[in-house]
Symmetry: D2
Subunit: 274 residues, 4 copies
C-alpha cells in the first residue's frame, strides 16, 4: 500500500484479532452468523426475524433503525423507536445486535443502544462518521464501499483505529461492476487478500452481494469455504411484504438450510461456530 | 427512472434553471468558471490562487477548508481557520466562493461563511448531509459519486430539494472504471444525458477527472463543446508544493491558456461567460 | 508501459503520423469524417447512406459486410455481396470505404475490396487477426476493446505494426462501465492520453459510445474540441428500419447539423477538414 | 434474456448436461480437476506438470501450444510442436487434454490432436472462431470474456451450439473491475446464476481469477462450495522460470494441498471426483 495502515495492518502481529461483541466473538477461532431483518419495521416483525436468526445459529442480530435509501421518498426506518425495539428484542432473546449509524449527530444515541455500530457501504468514506465511531467504545462493522479498493477500505478502518477504537470487523458485501445479473459482484477473493493485509476479522454479506434470495445459501457456502470469519444475512418473517430489500431476504422456509450450513461449518472450515 | 425525481426532474419545466451564487450565475444562459486551490493552505497561497483564478475568468472561487482524504494521516485542511481565510479572500477580490462540507455538525458553520456548499463525491450518498444542506439557504454543488449511476446522482439531488433547497448545481467529475491512465474516467456523455433529465445546471471538473495537469485544458474544451454550463478547476501558485492534489493543479504558466479558452467560449459554445 | 511499443510509440518521432486511405488523409493536419451505415443491407440503402455521409462532409465511407453480433440468430451482414455493394458505391461516389473483417480467412477477400480494414472492439485482442491484417498493404482502423486498457490497445496496434503494417488509425468507441444510461462510456480523455503515447492518429466513434442518436452530435463536438483527428459516425436513410443499431444511427434530418459541425471544425479546432 | 438461447438454455431440460472428454466427465454428477501448465515449453516440463496434475487428482490436462499474449514480443507458444508434445504426454499418462485454439485456420489442426478445444477469454466474441469450433466434434471449453455479461457469455455458447456442437463447458475465470489487488475479480456468483440459466456444466479457473499463487487454493475451495462442476488450474514444475503466468502457477510443493482438497470434495460438495 502507498499509505500506511499502522494500526490495522497485519505487520508485527502474531495472529489475527478477535472482536468481542456483547459476549459474541468474531475472529479466526470461530465462525459467526449475524442475521436479522434489513429494517426494523415493528416490534413483532423484529422479534420474529430475530427468532428465525437464532434458530439458524446466529449469535448476533442485525436490523436497521436508520436506513440509507437511494430515494428520499423511500422508507427510512423507525429511527429512535427502532433502536428501542432492537433493545427489547435483545432483552427477549439474550442476543446482542448491530445496527447502522448514518449521522455523526446520532452516534452517541446509537452507541447507547447497540452492541455494535455498522458503517454502511455508502458511508465507507464518510470520514467524519468514521472518526466519530472511532471515539466510542462500541465495536464497529465496516462495510466495503461499492467501488472501494481494498487499500481504501483498510484506510477507512485505519481512520476508526486512529480515533481510538480498534474493535473493527470488515465486511465484504459486493462491489459495483458492469454485470447486472446480480445486485453487486461478490469479491470473494477479497477475503483471503484482506486477511493477509490486516489482523482484523473479515465477514461476508451474501444478501447484498447477490441481491437475490436464491443466491444467499450458495454464496454463504463459498464464504465459509474461502475462510471468512462469519456471515451477515438478511431474513424476514414475510419477505414479500418487507419494506426494504425483500427480494434478498431469507424467509422462514429457508432457515433449516441455513441452520444446516452452520452445523456443517466445523466440518467444512475446521472452526467452531461462535 | 424507477424512482421519482419530482423536484429536480426536467418534466413540466419550460427550460433549465439558473442558480445564483453570490452574484455569479450558473445556468444555460452563461458559462461559469469556478477555480481555486484544492485546499486552503495559507492566506497568501489562497489569495494568489484566487487572483490566478480571476485572471483566467473565474466568477466563483473554490478552496477546501475541510478536506476528505483517503488516509487518516494526510493533511485534512485548516478547518474553521480555512473558512476565515476564504472569507478574507472574498473580501479582497470581491468574488464569492464554494467550499466543501463533510459533517452535518459543520453545516451551519460552513453556511455562515460560504456562498455555496459543496457535497463531494464520497458523500454523494451521505443522506444525512444531503438533508442538512437542503435545510440551508445556500446553493449546493453536488458532485457525482465515484460509482454513482446517473439515476442515483439525480436522486441525491432530489434529497436536497426535498429538504427545501432547489438551488443545486450538478458536477460531473469522473467515474471509477478499470482504466488507470487517468485518475477517473470523465463521463462526458453524462452532461447531455443529465441536461435532458433534470432542469439543474451541470458543470464539469476536469481536474479530478483526469488527475493530470496536461489533461485539464483538453478536457475543459471538451466540456465547453459538449454543452456544459461551467467548469470547476484546481489551480495553485506553486503546484509542486501543494499539500493536496498537486499533480492535477494548474500553475501560473497555465493561466493564459485557460483565459484564452474562456474568451473563446462565446464562439465555441454560443454563450456569454458568467 | 510495462511492455514496449517500439513501432507505434511516440518516442523518437518528430510529430504524429498521417495515414492515407484511398486519397483521404487521417492525421494531425486534418479532421476526417467517416460515415455510413452500420450494415450494408442493400445497394440502394448503402448508396443513400453514402450520399448522406458525403453531404455532411465525409471523405471516407463506412459499412459492414461482415457483422459481429451478440446473438447467432441476428443479422450478420451480406458478406461478399456486401463487399461488392460497397465497391459499387465507391465507384458511384468516388469516396473510399472502410469495412470490418472478422476472420483471418477473409482478410485477403476484404483487402481486395476495401480501402481500409476495420478491427472491431470484440476482436481487439484477436491476435491472429491483428497479425493477418498486418501482412496486408491496407491501412487498418483499430477500435479499442470494450474493456481494454490504453496500454493493451497500443500493444494491439503494435501487433499490426510488428507484422509489417504501420498504417494504423486508433478509434475510441467507449468502454464498458457500471453506467447504463449510455451503451458504453466514451472515454474522451483517452484521446489526448493516447496522442501523447503514440504517433498514430486517433478518432472517435460517438455512435457506439452513446448508443443514442441524440448524443451523437454533442459527443462529436466534444471529440472535435478535445483534439481528435476525426469521427466515425453511423447514418441510415431510415434508421427506424435499420437491421442493426438503428437507435444510434443519424437520419437524413440530422445531416444538416452534422454538416454544420464539420464546417465549424476549422474555427473550433484550428484544422482543415480532410 | 433479451436474446434467445434455444440450445444452451435450461428450459425444457430435466437436468443439467454432462460433457464427456476423452473418457473424463464434466457435469453435475462429478467434480472434475483440469490442470497443467499455462504454456507447453518443452516435452520434459509438460510431462512433469502433467504428472503433478495427475497426482493431485486431475482427470484432464491443460497446456497451451498457441498462446494469446498482450504483447507481440512475448512468448506465443510452440504451436504445432506443442500439440505433438501434448499428444505424447497424453500417451505417456493416459490422460486427455484441452488446449486453446486462436485462429479459425488452426481449428482442424488443433482438433486433430486435442481432446477438447478451449476458446479463451479474449476470443469469447470471436464469432468466426465460435462457429468454427462448433463444426468440429470436439467438446469446447468456453471461457468468459473479461468484460462479458452472463447473457453475452451464454449467447457465445449458443453460437457454438447453433453450429452443431452442444458439448460445451463454461468457465468462469474472473472479470475486469476497478480492483487491482487481484488480476481479475472472480465472479463466484456467476456459477449458481449460470447453472440456473443453462444446462451446460460450469467450472472455475482460480489461477487467472486471482493471478496469485496464494489465492488458488482458497478460491478453489470457494468454487467447490458454491457448486461448480470442476476447476482448471495452472501448475508448473518450477514456477519461477515459467515462460508465462508463473506468479499464478502452483508448484510441486502446492500439490499435496490441492490433492487434499480434491479428496475432500465428496464431503464438501456431496459429489464424486471425476
Amino acid at each position: 500500500m502507498a499509505d500506511p495502515i499502522e494500526l490495522v495492518g497485519a505487520h508485527g502481529r502474531a495472529g489475527r484479532s478477535t472482536v468481542e461483541v456483547g459476549g459474541a466473538e468474531i475472529g479466526p477461532g470461530t465462525f459467526t452468523l449475524i442475521a436479522g431483518p434489513c429494517a426494523v419495521e415493528s416490534a413483532e416483525q423484529t422479534l420474529q426475524a430475530a427468532q428465525m436468526a437464532v434458530s439458524a445459529g446466529a449469535s448476533l442480530l442485525r436490523g436497521g433503525a436508520f436506513k440509507p435509501r437511494t430515494s428520499p421518498y423511500a422508507f427510512h426506518g423507525l429511527g429512535p423507536a427502532g433502536l428501542r425495539i432492537l433493545s427489547d428484542v435483545r432483552a427477549a432473546t439474550g442476543v446482542p445486535f448491530v445496527t447502522e449509524v448514518l449521522d455523526t449527530r446520532d452516534v452517541d444515541l446509537v452507541a447507547d443502544h447497540a452492541d455494535m455500530l455498522q458503517i454502511g457501504a455508502r458511508n465507507m468514506q464518510n470520514f467524519a462518521l468514521l472518526r466519530a465511531v472511532g471515539t466510542t467504545r462500541r465495536p464497529v462493522l465496516l462495510k466495503r464501499g461499492l467501488s472501494a479498493t481494498i487499500d481504501e477500505w483498510l484506510l477507512a478502518a485505519e481512520y476508526i483505529a486512529a480515533a481510538g477504537n480498534e474493535n473493527i470487523v470488515l465486511c465484504e458485501r459486493g462491489i459495483r461492476t458492469f454485470e447486472n445479473a446480480t445486485r453487486n459482484t461478490l469479491d470473494i477473493s477479497a477475503v483471503p487478500v484482506v486477511q493477509k493485509m490486516t489482523h482484523l476479522p473479515v465477514i461476508v454479506d451474501p444478501s447484498h452481494s447477490g441481491g437475490r434470495r436464491d443466491l444467499v445459501l450458495p454464496l454463504s457456502r463459498a464464504a465459509v469455504a474461502v475462510g471468512a470469519d462469519g456471515l451477515i444475512i438478511e431474513c424476514h418473517p414475510v419477505p414479500e411484504v418487507a419494506l426494504c430489500d425483500g427480494p434478498q431476504a431469507l424467509g422462514p422456509e429457508d432457515m433449516p438450510e441455513l441452520a444446516a450450513l452452520m452445523k456443517d461449518v466445523p466440518r467444512l472450515a475446521g472452526r467452531a461456530v461462535a
